[in-house]
């Protein structure tokens, strides 16, 4: 084994060590053989680690030192809204009255939790301009699929069973078409025009009586506001389709424009983006869905309602699509989002959007000379650069991303959206200071210079990380997906 390998927990295990102590059994012991019939009790023990408590803390501390989070440094990962995760959120979510309550308790014993959910729903109704919100979906993609199932149920309730197609722009996030498939729709791609916006002509061409919905991200994944939004809505509504809002980019328009006022019929939000749910290394998230009045009957069951100052779950929803998740959603993330909304207030949320957009435009202008800027207009909370100039010099966007690691930064989202060659999608968020933005821009400019003067240093990056570029082909060719004792 290579001397620099970080040991797996299974490699530091030693027979006889323990990392726990349970209280002594205080009821009479019983021979398990009398409680479990033959064959039911496992013969081979599960090979879990045998380590002490300090072993565990050292192990995970070492792992955390090999990981970069927002608290470690700037993380301008476009589309992901890597803003600061407030610590008060973590404390509140861990209050015993929120963390240690059971979803099936008598409603009278969880009124505080239900009140918080209700208040969050109401806040999101106001923020999105929709008529009602469900907190049940666990993440953005889950919310997309939930809303599409509601759209499907809506059309079916109208006897409209031939609406089999969902239209998705070529710049859309991958979950949009994937969710359409899971919901049983066929995906039709609509092109972007040379300004990076949905091509209205192409849209008119693809819509028809078979259109169930158009899924739109606004601002789109290029960070550009779809300024023809009213025409788009008219085209879709004109053929009887529904307009869907992918709210992953809400950080760009809070207090400036509401999906409900733009003609959208439903929306999902990523509370783990705009509303500071921590990303957790990949989750958990929370993906509430907001709808306009005509979709309310189809909301997932149960629906949280308030009756005479009491909160209750309403299961009597004859037209509901059903249940998309056991219980009521990722409550713990919803607690964090609510805490955040209450920490910001209306003026705070407005400032969030203004500063997020100001930061993005500032960076875009500082970098535009040094990289190609395919869409040169004010952006919203993020912008996309192209590395095609550098590619001509033999350096790919991937290389520049890796070089950024040497400067202590998490790189931008790269090669997305798909309609930009060698794309780099940069989202600073409002919680970063001008000094941080400047330092990052300086690093980007230096890398652009290196590409011209000393491309190898970029091509061979990173140089300072605990590990170099990994062999992904090898990982996929003969997958090793678990540890097996040598």
């Amino acid at each position: 084994m290579h001397k620099d390998n970080q040991p797996l927990i299974f490699e530091i295990t030693k027979e006889g060590r323990v990392g726990y102590n349970l209280p002594e059994l205080d009821v009479p012991a019983v021979d398990l053989a009398t409680l479990l019939p033959q064959g039911m009790q496992r013969v081979e023990e599960a090979e879990l680690p045998e380590v002490s408590e300090l072993d565990i803390m050292r192990h995970y501390t070492a792992l955390s030192n090999r990981n970069h989070g927002v608290d470690s440094g700037f993380y301008p990962l476009g589309s992901c809204t890597m803003k600061y995760n407030p610590k008060i959120n973590e404390s509140v979510a861990r209050f015993p009255g929120f963390a240690n309550i059971h979803p099936l308790q008598d409603e009278s014993s969880v009124q505080g939790a239900m009140e918080l959910m209700y208040e969050l729903q109401e806040s999101l109704v106001e923020i999105t301009g929709m008529d009602e919100v469900t907190l049940q979906p666990a993440a953005g993609a889950h919310g997309e699929w939930t809303a599409l199932m509601m759209i499907r149920a809506f059309h079916e309730a109208n006897g409209d069973t031939h609406r089999t197609k969902v239209i998705v722009p070529d710049s859309a996030h991958g979950t949009n078409p994937a969710s359409a498939t899971v919901a049983g729709f066929e995906t039709i791609t609509v092109k972007s025009n040379e300004e990076g916006l949905v091509d209205l002509e192409d849209l008119r061409r693809v819509v028809g009586p078979d259109t169930a919905a158009l899924m739109l991200t606004n601002p789109n994944t290029l960070g550009l506001f779809e300024e023809n939004i009213l025409e788009l809505a008219e085209i879709i509504h004109g053929v009887g389709g529904k307009l869907y809002y992918d709210g992953a980019n809400l950080n760009a328009v809070m207090s400036k424009a509401r999906p409900g006022d733009m003609g959208f019929d439903c929306v999902h939000l990523n509370l783990h983006k705009t509303f500071t749910g921590p990303h957790g290394g990949g989750g958990p998230g929370s993906g509430p869905v907001g709808v306009k009045a005509d979709l309310i009957p189809f909301l997932p069951s149960p629906v949280l309602v308030k009756e005479d100052d009491q909160y209750t779950f309403d299961y009597n929803r004859p037209q509901t699509i059903g249940r998309v998740k056991p219980f009521y959603g990722n409550f713990g993330i919803n607690v964090r989002a609510y805490t955040y909304i209450r920490s910001m207030g209306p003026d705070g949320l407005k400032a969030v959007t203004e500063y997020a957009v100001l930061n993005a435009n500032y960076m875009m202008r500082r970098l535009e000379e040094h990289f190609d800027l395919p869409y040169n207009r004010h952006c919203k909370h993020e912008f996309v650069l192209s590395g095609r100039r550098q590619k001509k010099l033999g350096v790919r966007t991937l290389d520049m991303a890796k070089r950024l690691l040497d400067f202590g930064y998490h790189p931008p989202t790269i090669y997305f959206p798909l309609n930009v060659e060698e794309g780099m999608m940069i989202e600073p968020t409002e919680t970063e200071s001008k000094e941080t933005l400047d330092a990052f821009c300086d690093a980007m400019i230096q890398i652009a210079k290196e590409v011209e003067e000393n491309p190898e240093i970029v091509q061979n990056a990173p140089h300072t990380t605990v590990i170099n570029r990994l062999d992904e082909t090898k990982a996929a060719r003969k997958p090793v997906l678990r540890y097996i004792k040598a």
Partner: protein
């Protein structure tokens, strides 16, 4: 606007506007059509400062009866278990919880390795060949297993035992709707899947048979027979398992399960009013390329150092878009980390000891209920739940128990009209003999 999360100063703003070449931030929003521009402020509550907000929200939390203050006998898929104190210490390291999905492996080795270890532990417990990095929860994991089975077998019907968690069944019905897969439920007999009925229902159109282990009623299904009936029709055998029980029970993999799913909540994850928890998804090698969600694999760098990457991504939405095996993107990574820490702390011996305590304490409760004159209708082998029949309504029982400091069991009449006056009681290692005795005594007093 001055706020501790917003570092922008007036000076910064002036300089930045200058570089952009505009005079006011509003100009950046000029592309929003006037007709849809929102000009006011949201009608939401005003901001509160940290100390005031903490006070308000802790008062809200205190309105709830929590399992720190009350002795909880409520299970039905979510359990009050021992959570090693170090779990929160590890997942509070912000290098973990403030990171995104590990797209840049060079600076995400910590998360990637932690997931690789999680995948390994799930394989060890389930006896399966490989496991993914997590799903939203046990219910959606089971539903994805149903969809995978239909896609793999090209059949359009799944059978699900009525001894599966009713909310899981609801989610299965929901997910399969989009794929036009029909869901047929298999009745139970004596609290377990009725094998005669299963034999009648399973046929060459069946994509999968879904059972729960231990099942919703706490009973331990006979997986040998279910496997035989399922595979005889070349359907996939899908087991939704409680991973803690698997510390002690013969793992589904040993019974020939094709897919084992479940929720890792019993390992270090708070009840949290039902979420976030942590679904897991484990399969045999033949289904490797059909698995939903993220997989972490081992590889090396140019210098031969071992490292970990997201792999087999050609299954996923960001590559395959509408052809992906699932739409899942964000998963439950931080809770998978929590579960890994708990599984590591308990370790090889601890999971067995904890699982044993669950069985033995539940057995004690069962005997105590029987001694007190209650009927316990299902007499098969159980894990940490039993069904108790009471003579009278359960409508107000839990309110009365609450006054005595007890969170009572789950009223099965809420989900099954045949089970009016039956309550599902969970007894974990957290419950003391004294608490169990108190529960039986209080229930005895109510139904004397």
């Amino acid at each position: 606007m001055k706020h501790r999360y917003l570092p922008m100063t007036e000076q910064d703003q002036k300089e930045m506007l200058g570089v952009i070449g505009i005079s006011a931030i509003d100009e950046l929003f000029a592309d929003i059509p006037e007709k849809v521009r929102f000009t006011g402020e949201y009608n939401i509550k005003p901001a509160k400062a940290e100390s005031a907000l903490l006070k308000e929200l802790s008062a809200l939390a205190d309105k709830n009866a929590d399992s720190r203050k009350y002795a909880s006998f409520l299970g039905a898929g979510v359990y009050d278990h021992f959570k090693p104190i170090i779990v929160d210490h590890v997942i509070s390291r912000s290098e973990f919880y403030t990171a995104y999905t590990p797209y840049q492996p060079e600076i995400s080795q910590g998360e990637l390795q932690a997931i690789f270890e999680f995948q390994t532990m799930i394989c060890e417990l389930t006896g399966m060949d490989l496991a993914n990095s997590s799903m939203y929860d046990g219910g959606t994991a089971l539903a994805e297993a149903a969809n995978l089975s239909a896609g793999h077998t090209k059949r359009k019907k799944v059978l699900v035992s009525e001894a599966v968690h009713p909310e899981y069944i609801d989610v299965v019905k929901m997910y399969t709707k989009g794929q036009n897969i029909s869901v047929v439920t298999v009745p139970t007999k004596d609290g377990v899947t009725d094998l005669a009925k299963l034999e009648e229902l399973v046929d060459e159109e069946t994509a999968a048979v879904l059972v729960q282990y231990p099942n919703f009623f706490g009973q331990i299904e006979d997986l040998t027979k279910v496997e035989q009936l399922t595979h005889a029709q070349k359907a996939l055998f899908v087991v939704s398992a409680n991973p803690l029980a698997l510390g002690l029970l013969t793992p589904p993999g040993k019974f020939g399960a094709d897919i084992t799913v479940g929720d890792a909540q019993p390992f270090g994850i708070s009840e949290a009013f039902g979420g976030p928890h942590c679904g897991f998804f484990a399969v045999t090698t033949k289904l490797m390329r059909k698995v939903p969600g993220r997989l972490v694999g081992e590889t090396t760098d140019e210098e031969g150092r071992r490292g970990y990457v997201l792999t087999l991504q050609a299954r996923e939405q960001h590559i395959r878009r509408d052809k992906a095996t699932s739409n899942i993107c964000s998963n439950q990574a931080l809770n998978a980390l929590a579960a890994s820490v708990a599984m590591t702390a308990l370790g090889k011996k601890g999971v067995q000891e904890m699982a044993t305590q669950n069985i033995v304490k539940t057995h004690y409760a069962k005997q105590a209920f029987e001694k007190a004159g209650f009927e316990v209708p299902y007499q098969g082998a159980h894990f940490n739940e039993i069904v108790v029949k009471v003579n009278g309504s359960l409508a107000d029982t839990n309110k009365v128990l609450l006054e005595k400091g007890i969170i009572g069991g789950f009223d099965l009449g809420r989900v099954n009209s045949d089970l009016q006056n039956h309550v599902l009681i969970a007894v974990t290692e957290q419950r003391t003999k004294e608490e169990i005795d108190a529960l039986v005594q209080e229930m005895g007093a109510l139904y004397a």
